[in-house]
Symmetry: C2
Subunit: 314 residues, 2 copies
C-alpha cells in the first residue's frame, strides 16, 4: 500500500518526538526537504502560512493544518473549496491569556507610566490606580483564549460578561451578550479583553460608539487581531478620552511599524505581537504538538477539530 | 456613666457611616478637632502614625489601632508596654496582591521593556517571554497579602511554595518551607513574591546567597517592605545577573528618591509605593472600615485581632 504523505513546514530544530506519532500512519517530510513527487502526493500540510505556489505544488491536499490560532492571514480565495482548513485554536491559549491579564493589570496599576517615572528618579504619585476585584470585565470572543481570560478574571474577583455567537454555561461567566450586540457587551464595563478572530463578521466591529459604551476611564485589551477595531475611530476616541487606556499586542498591518502612530499615543500600552510567549521554545513545541494531534485524528479517520468555516473569511 | 473616647486620625472627608457603628459604644472624635480633655481621656486611637507628643497628650490609651498593614514605621520604644497595638493586616490585601501579580506579569512578559520600544517606533523582538503556568513561585509571608498572592498564582497554574513561621493547609499551597529556611524556600524558584512584614526577624533576611538560590533568570517581586532585602547585596546581584528581574513597589527609605540608584538599574521594574491602590477612595475607606471593625470588637469586650507582638519590633 502506498504511504500517505504529510508535509511539515516547521523549523528544522523541532524535535522528531513532537510529531513522531504521525509516522505510524504516514510519511512525514519536511517542507524544505520534500521531493516534488512527495509534494504532489501530499495529503496534509502543516504550516503557518502558504502561497499560491505551495497550492500548485500540492494539488492533492485534503487538509491544511495551520499552526497559528488565527487564520485571517490566508489567501482564502486561492484555497480550493474541497480542502479542509483547520486552525490551531487553543494551542497557545494559556500564554496569550496570561499576556491579556498582564496588559490588563499593567493598565489598571499604571505600571509602564510609574516605572518610567521611577527610572528617571521621579517617585511622585499623581494618577489613580484601579482595583480589579468587584469590577466588570467584558470578554469578547469565547474561544480557548477568551475562556481562559474569563476564568482568570473570575479568579481575580471580577464580574465577567461574555460575548460570543453562542452562550457558554461556565461558572466563571456571570452574564452573556450574543453577537452582534457589541455595545450591550461593552456597556458600562470598566475593563474589556478582545480575543476575537478577524473575519468578515468581526472586521471593524468596534468603532467610536462601541468604545464610548465603556466607562470613559476604562481599559480595553486586545490580544486577538487589530482589525477588529476601527483604527481611525480608536485613535479619535483615545484623543477625546485621555483617561481611557488601550493596551494591545496586535495591530492592523503585517508590518507593525505602520501602526507606530497608535503606539505613540500616551494612553496606549503596546507590546510587539509577543503574547504567544515570543522566543519561548516550550510554547512553540506545544503548538506543533497540538497541530500534530489534530492531524493524527484525521489520519485515524476521526473527526477533525478546529475546522474553519471558510464563509467567515470570504 | 462617662462615655469612652475613641480618637480617629483619618481624613475629614471619610464619611461618618464608615465608623458610625462605634458611636453606640463611645464618643468618636476627630484628632484635629479633639479637645485636650478628650485626648486625655482617649482610650483608643485610630491612626497611620503617631508621635511622642501624641502619646503624651493621650496618657490613658489602651489600644492603638494602626490603619496600615505594616507597623514597622512606629517608634516602638516610645509606646508604653501596657498599650495594645493592632495592625490593619488584611484591610488592603486585595489591591496589594493584585499589584504583586501585576509586577510579576509585567516582568514575565517584559511589558515595560517592550512598551518603551514600541512607543519609540521600534517593534522588533529580542528578549524571550516567560509563561507562568507550570512554573514554581515562592511566596514569602503568608499573611492576608501572601495568601491572596498564593491563591492567584495557583489560579494561574503555578506551583506554589509557601514560606512563613507556621505552615498553612490551603489547597493553593503545594509545598511549605518554615522560617528561617529562606534559601530552601527560594531554591530553584523562577518566581518569588515577598509579602513579609519588616521586623527584627526579617530585616536583611534576603542577601546575595538567598537571591542566588533562585533561577538566574528569575523574577522577584516585593510588595512588603524594602528592608527585608539587603540593598547592597541586591544591587550587586542584579549587576552580576542581567537576566534576573527585581520588580518592586517598596524601598528602604521613607524618602524613596534615596533609592533612585536601584530604580535606575535596567533589570528593575519600579512603582512608587502605590500597591494599596494609590488614590483609590474605595480602598482607603475599606481600610478605615476594617480598622473600625476591630475597634468595635474591643469596645464590645471581644478579643482584638491583629495584635502586634512588640518583641518582633524591639
Amino acid at each position: 500500500m502506498v504511504r500517505r504523505v504529510v508535509v511539515l513546514n516547521v523549523g528544522e530544530n523541532v524535535p522528531e518526538e513532537t510529531y513522531a506519532v504521525l509516522r505510524e500512519h504516514a510519511d512525514v517530510v519536511h517542507y524544505g526537504r520534500a521531493e516534488p513527487e512527495q509534494l504532489r502526493r501530499a495529503e496534509v500540510l502543516v504550516t503557518f502560512r502558504l502561497s499560491r505556489e505551495d497550492l500548485e505544488m500540492m494539488p492533492n491536499l485534503k487538509v491544511i493544518q495551520i499552526l497559528s490560532a488565527g487564520v485571517d492571514h490566508l489567501d482564502w480565495s486561492s484555497i480550493p473549496e474541497d480542502v479542509v482548513v483547520c486552525s490551531n485554536a487553543g494551542s497557545n491559549a494559556v500564554p496569550v491569556a496570561e499576556h491579556a491579564i498582564a496588559l490588563l493589570l499593567a493598565a489598571a496599576k499604571r505600571i509602564p507610566y510609574y516605572h518610567e517615572r521611577c527610572r528617571s528618579g521621579d517617585f511622585s504619585r499623581d494618577k489613580t490606580v484601579k482595583v480589579l476585584q468587584g469590577s466588570v470585565i467584558a470578554v469578547l470572543g469565547l474561544g480557548p483564549i477568551g475562556m481562559r481570560v474569563a476564568e482568570l478574571a473570575k479568579a481575580l474577583g471580577m464580574r465577567v460578561r461574555g460575548f460570543a455567537r453562542r452562550p457558554r454555561s461556565e461558572p466563571f461567566i456571570d452574564e452573556f451578550r450574543a453577537y452582534p450586540d457589541v455595545r450591550g457587551a461593552l456597556s458600562g464595563a470598566e475593563f474589556a479583553v478582545l480575543a476575537l478572530p478577524l473575519n468578515r463578521h468581526t472586521k471593524n466591529m468596534i468603532g467610536y460608539e462601541e468604545l464610548r459604551a465603556m466607562r470613559s476611564d476604562g481599559v480595553m485589551v486586545n490580544v486577538g487581531r487589530g482589525g477588529v477595531v476601527s483604527k481611525p475611530d480608536l485613535i479619535r476616541f483615545l484623543r477625546d478620552n485621555p483617561d481611557f487606556t488601550y493596551a494591545t499586542d496586535v495591530y492592523w498591518s503585517g508590518d507593525i511599524s505602520q501602526d507606530a502612530d497608535l503606539a505613540a499615543l500616551p494612553n496606549v500600552i503596546a507590546t510587539p505581537w509577543i503574547a504567544g510567549a515570543f522566543g519561548n521554545p516550550r510554547v512553540y513545541l506545544e503548538m506543533v504538538r497540538h497541530a500534530a494531534e489534530n492531524v493524527l485524528r484525521y489520519l485515524r479517520g476521526e473527526s477533525l477539530r478546529n475546522v474553519v468555516d471558510r464563509s467567515d473569511y470570504l
